[in-house]
Amino acid sequence: MDCYTANWNPLGDSAFYRKYELYSMDWDLKEELRDCLVAAAPYGGPIALLRNPWRKEKAASVRPVLEIYSASGLPLASLLWKSGPVVSLGWSAEEELLCVQEDGGVLVYGLHGDFRRHFSMGNEVLQNRVLDARIFHTEFGSGVAILTGAHRFTLSANVSDLKLRRMPEVPGLQGAPTCWTALCQDRVAHILLAVGPDLYLLDQSACSAVTPFGLAPGVSSFLQMAVSFTYRHLALFTDTGYIWMGTASLKEKLCEFNCNIRAPPKQMVWCSRPRSKERAVVVAWERRLMVVGDAPESIQFVLDEDSYLVPELDGVRIFSRSTHEFLHEVPVASEEIFKIASMAPGALLLEAQKEYEKESQKADEYLREIQELGQLTQAVQQCIEAAGHEHRPDMQKSLLRAASFGKCFLDRFPPDSFVRMCQDLRVLNAIRDYHIGIPLTYSQYKQLTIQVLLDRLVLRRLYPLAIQICEYLRLPEVQGVSRILAHWACYKVQQKDVSDEDVARAINQKLGDTPGVSYSDIAARAYGCGRTELAIKLLEYEPRSGEQVPLLLKMKRSKLALSKAIESGDTDLVFTVLLHLKNELNRGDFFMTLRNQPMALSLYRQFCKHQELETLKDLYNQDDNHQELGSFHIRASYAAEERIEGRVAALQTAADAFYKAKNEFAAKATEDQMRLLRLQRRLEDELGGRFLDLSLHDTVTTLILGGHNKRAEQLARDFRIPDKRLWWLKLTALADLEDWEELEKFSKSKKSPIGYLPFVEICMKQHNKYEAKKYASRVGPEQKVKALLLVGDVAQAADVAIEHRNEAELSLVLSHCTGATDGATADKIQRARAQAQKK
């Protein structure tokens, strides 16, 4: 414990800075770092080195090598650089390597050296060449800023949505600026540059000279500038060895320092923690590293090797040929606990726990002391928090142990913070491992979020670890395991040396029915890699047919798509495929395909019925479906066609079809209809009036109503109208005409096939009781009662009913007896009934 604070260096009175080793690098660097273009991604990201850059004239024939390493120095990729000279390297927020070439072209590579895409920074840049370039991060993504040979700036604030902006000219600028940087303020990217003693701020429209507030006099040139990780602060290094630190707006000075070194530093970066009041920058020269802040003294380190600084959210990473270190301000919780002679509750708790382990009574004393002050909760929290900031697992453990010990004496301490910290540390320790090489601090991890971390693991193809983390943290499958498996599968399909069967099987074995995994997405990827067969195999595993179809269509497997669409039961999908097929196949093949798919066929028929009548006919023709063909022509005979000849022709075709369909009834009916049509036409010509499209019945009725009885009878004979119908028809028509004389004649023409009750009914309907009574007498005995009741002769009806001795008839009459008038009749019936019962 005594040596724990040995690597703590005080800066001023209130802050300590410590530097500890993350990894000892065993990358086999052949060259010095200073001979390479170096780019290291923040958040413990990968390191890219481009050896043998062009500024050294030697051996131009030797192609440079681009190498990518993990933060722990494990090689991830190495490739011969075949493109033009590179001016600058940088990592985007998605951990893609951007290589800015002299001609303004930017090549984008993946983490594993896989070429992704390339874009250009515009013609102006191409003409004037790139002098210098910076890759910077904004809230939208990653930006590129370029200083051209003409001393003009061009930038794009987001490379994934490339919009080039040419910045305004700096008036009177002759040579290159001594130093410059990209700034991001209020969601807008600016350029700050120094020319001699002057500073200029370039925004979209204007160039303005700016002066840092409270800058010491005597500055003739700015040699270096540094923007903090969050773009909030800015540091300037002058040729007098004076360092100005203030806000990025330059309007406020935080502190200043004079280091008395006039040599321009190699690198200068901010080193501050979020939410800390301390501000400090780290300045590196060839062999010296200096931490300066608001204190008269600085912290100095000697650099044994060529080193490179990587600014991070809460500190600075420093890597060299042999080591990778982290320098940061000691967090408050750690400081409180570990500061020598600290009496902070956390410190006491840690002590108490240690004594407890030693089985010493002192444990109790310490504990009492904390409890008396009522600070146990705070102590536990402090220990938990401090554990998060420790890099070494043994220290994490002892702090967590102390926290857990303290928790025992608390009644209601919510367990989440402790549990969460244990989980987080486990994850952090796992990814900090040498083999993984992502040295995230707790603050960085929280800022990055677990989702992004998982993405980065996937990007590094560390699928098993990512899945373990998901399972360990019990992330919902859709966000966690499934997503990773899907990524894995997409990677898997790109392995061209493995056979389709093996890939498909491997993927299915792993993925099974994991929810949230879309086989069609994976298949689409396989298709994208030119592996159609594999894509089809993968689609077989896709449970949602609806998802299979679009890709199958894209792959021109329309027939397969059709059967899948039909399986899905989604008619709309089937239809989509149908239209595809229709365009793709020739008509004959298309029809043949339909023929084997009744559901698709009926769907297509539906469509044709409204949209393509001719096709519908062809469809029926092909299937020899004469019945439907007949119906089709019948329908055609009613549609639009006004001319009688056309209609008759259509009907004739229909009749022929019906004969072929062996539907003689329909054929005959159709022929009758043709005859009727012709006849109606003739009637219209000869008699005038409207006959066309009337039914046979109505035609005859119309004739009778028009007084053409002969014609009517002729028609009835021609069309063999049954007697019954004819009688009904005539009866109704004559009654409508109120031609009672003719009706009577008709009734006497022969014995009525429908009896005489209808005559009574119809007359009554016309309210002609007189006529009705005539016929009532002729009604047969079974219906006599009914007829008499119809004409309102209740008394006689009763007599007939009694005579018939029919119980039903009796009650029927009785129900018609109303009020006093029929009182006598009712009595009569009752008597008859009583008599009947007696017998």
Binding site: P515, G569, D572, M599, R605, Q627, S631, I634, W728, T732
Partner: protein, 572 residues
């Protein structure tokens, strides 16, 4: 009333700056508005209308904004038509996934009357997806259904599609407590007979006589006895209606007059009142009484009007014939009755209905009758009905008796020889011929014709047969009753065979431990192709008897006339 009226009536739409409402039909819309919005069912016909309207505007050189909103879903075919007509770029399309309209406390309607023709006649399965979506919606609202039963091809397909939907989006309903214990899906073609019968329960009778549209009915001047017609919402909130809706019509008058007397008595109470009581009466009761009075007079008017109409058409004779058909006696007499019905041109739809009823109950018409009735019908109502007959035959509603069992024999032989898929196709092709209704056998098996000693007391019904004057228990309802009793199709094999549904009935039970006994009393019955008010009344009765509570989900409320109209071909 249209479904839209139930959701957003004209005044609401006007508040939202809708200028004028038009019916989508093939007429130019005379409007000076800058924007036209089409709210349509996804049908090709509608698309052509939209296209012709847009094209007419183009010709006239006007530019307007057009929006087509498809409900309940957009179909690719429709967009295709817009594209073919060259207007796809001019309109913007949207979807309104509206599928369930609550018409009453226990009745949900999808308001898809076209479902019946589309599926059962044209074999178009487009709405199955919609049904599945609606069921999915219900299960997200009320939790999973622990017991599922179904019968019919469409029911099976809908059910399977619904299951797939649930699987795709699982997690939502999982772990939820089921609120509805059972769901029963039933295809309309399992029981055409019930739907073809004349309705004699009040609500059904009102539907048959005046046509209830979207839970509302337009009573004409003959009912209101004034010169205006009256729109009345018919649901459980109408207290008078709620008490008579499920009653046999013969009881309704008695009930109404009793009600009128009670009402009068309540009015009369005010005679002996002092000022204070009177004030109370006026402020609290009078409004309710007046409301009730108004409703009462409406329903009395409706009853009178029904009575008048029904006696005119010799309703008693008609009912007698129907009962004879159901019971299977005096077939010859019934046939001549139908013949006379046709000869007298009573009503094309009614004649058709009787022919279908005769065909289904008798397993098809004997060839002689089949021909002569059809000939008569064509002579009476016009030759275009040749197509109607072809439709009815395809749907299995009006068929010719096959000589012997030859067809089924051929079919079974064929299916043995070729693969299942091909057999299915052949079966489809033969289905209209081979699908025998077997009504008589089913009726015997399920005891659909109650044996009555003496008069059936319609005031105190004993069974569901009361909805048809005690002559017939609705087949659909009996099937539901039987399955619910057994909690499966077990023991109903013979019935299923007779219904041609051996392969098409399913039961799916999950563990019931999570379902409360309360939820197990709730049953959602889904009618695919429509249900009648008589069926609803019968099941409500069954619910009261057995302590269940039925909720109905139907593609549309239907009746015999609507079914027949759906099958009819009318001249364009």
């Amino acid at each position: 009333m249209s479904p839209l009226d139930r959701i957003a009536n004209v005044s609401i739409l006007k508040q939202h700056e809708v200028d004028k409402l038009y019916k989508v039909e093939n007429k130019p819309a005379v409007s000076s508005s800058e924007q036209l919005c089409f709210l349509v069912r996804p049908r090709i016909k509608n698309m052509r209308y939209v296209a012709s309207l847009v094209n007419a505007d183009k010709l006239a050189g006007r530019t307007r904004k057009y929006k087509v909103i498809f409900s309940p879903q957009k179909f690719h075919a429709c967009e295709m038509v817009l594209e073919e007509e060259g207007v796809y770029g001019d309109v913007s399309c949207d979807e309104w996934a509206f599928s369930l309209l609550p018409l009453d406390v226990d009745l949900l309607s999808m308001e898809l009357p076209e479902f019946f023709r589309d599926y059962f006649l044209e074999g178009d399965q487009r709405w199955i997806n919609t049904v599945a979506q609606a069921l999915h919606l219900l299960s997200t609202l009320y939790g999973p259904f622990p017991n599922c039963y179904g019968i019919g091809r469409c029911a099976k397909m809908s059910y399977e599609l619904w299951r797939t939907l649930e699987e795709e989006e699982d997690g939502e309903t999982k772990g939820r407590r089921p609120e509805i214990g059972h769901i029963f899906l039933l295809d309309r073609d399992v029981d055409f007979v019930t739907a073809l019968c004349s309705q004699v329960v009040y609500e059904g009778l009102v539907d048959d006589t005046f046509r209830i549209k979207c839970g509302s009915v337009d009573f004409g001047p003959e009912v209101t006895s004034s010169d205006r017609s009256l729109k009345v919402l018919l649901n459980a909130e109408d207290k008078v209606f709620n008490e008579i809706r499920n009653e046999h019509f013969s009881n309704v008058f008695g009930f109404l007059s009793q009600k009128a007397r009670n009402l009068q008595a309540q009015y009369d109470r005010r005679r002996g009142m002092d000022i204070k009581q009177m004030k109370n009466f006026v402020s609290q009761e009078l409004k309710g009484l007046k409301q009730e009075h108004r409703l009462l007079s409406v329903h009395i008017g409706a009853c009178e009007s029904i009575m008048k109409k029904k006696t005119k058409q010799d309703f008693q004779e008609l009912i007698k014939t129907e009962h004879a058909l159901l019971e299977g006696f005096n077939i010859r007499e019934s046939t001549s009755y139908i013949e006379e019905h046709i000869d007298r041109q009573v009503s094309p739809i009614e004649s058709l209905r009787l022919m279908c009823l005769l065909s289904i109950t008798e397993n098809g018409l004997i060839p002689k009758d089949y021909r002569s009735l059809k000939t008569q019908y064509l002579q009476s109502y016009g030759p275009e009905h040749l197509l109607t007959f072809s439709n009815l035959r395809r749907a299995g509603l009006l068929t010719e008796q096959a000589p012997g069992d030859t067809l089924t024999a051929v079919e079974s032989k064929v299916s043995k020889l070729v693969t299942d898929k091909a057999a299915g196709k052949i079966t489809d092709a033969f289905s209209s011929l081979a699908k025998r209704s077997n009504f008589r056998a089913i009726s015997k098996k399920l005891n659909l014709i109650p044996r009555v000693d003496g008069e059936y007391d319609l005031k105190v019904p004993r069974d569901m047969a009361y909805v048809f004057s005690g002559a017939y228990v609705p087949l659909s309802c009996r099937v539901i009753e039987q399955v619910l009793e057994r909690r499966s199709w077990q023991g109903l094999d013979e019935v299923l065979r007779l219904l041609n549904c051996s392969e098409l009935a399913f039961t799916d039970m999950t563990k019931e431990d999570k379902a409360s006994s309360e939820s197990l009393r709730l049953i959602l019955v889904v009618f695919l192709g429509g249900c009648t008010f008589s069926e609803i009344s019968a099941l409500r009765f069954l619910g009261r008897e057995k302590g269940y509570r039925f909720i109905f989900l139907t593609t549309a409320v239907t009746n015999s006339a609507r079914l027949m109209e759906a099958m009819s071909e009318v001249k364009a």
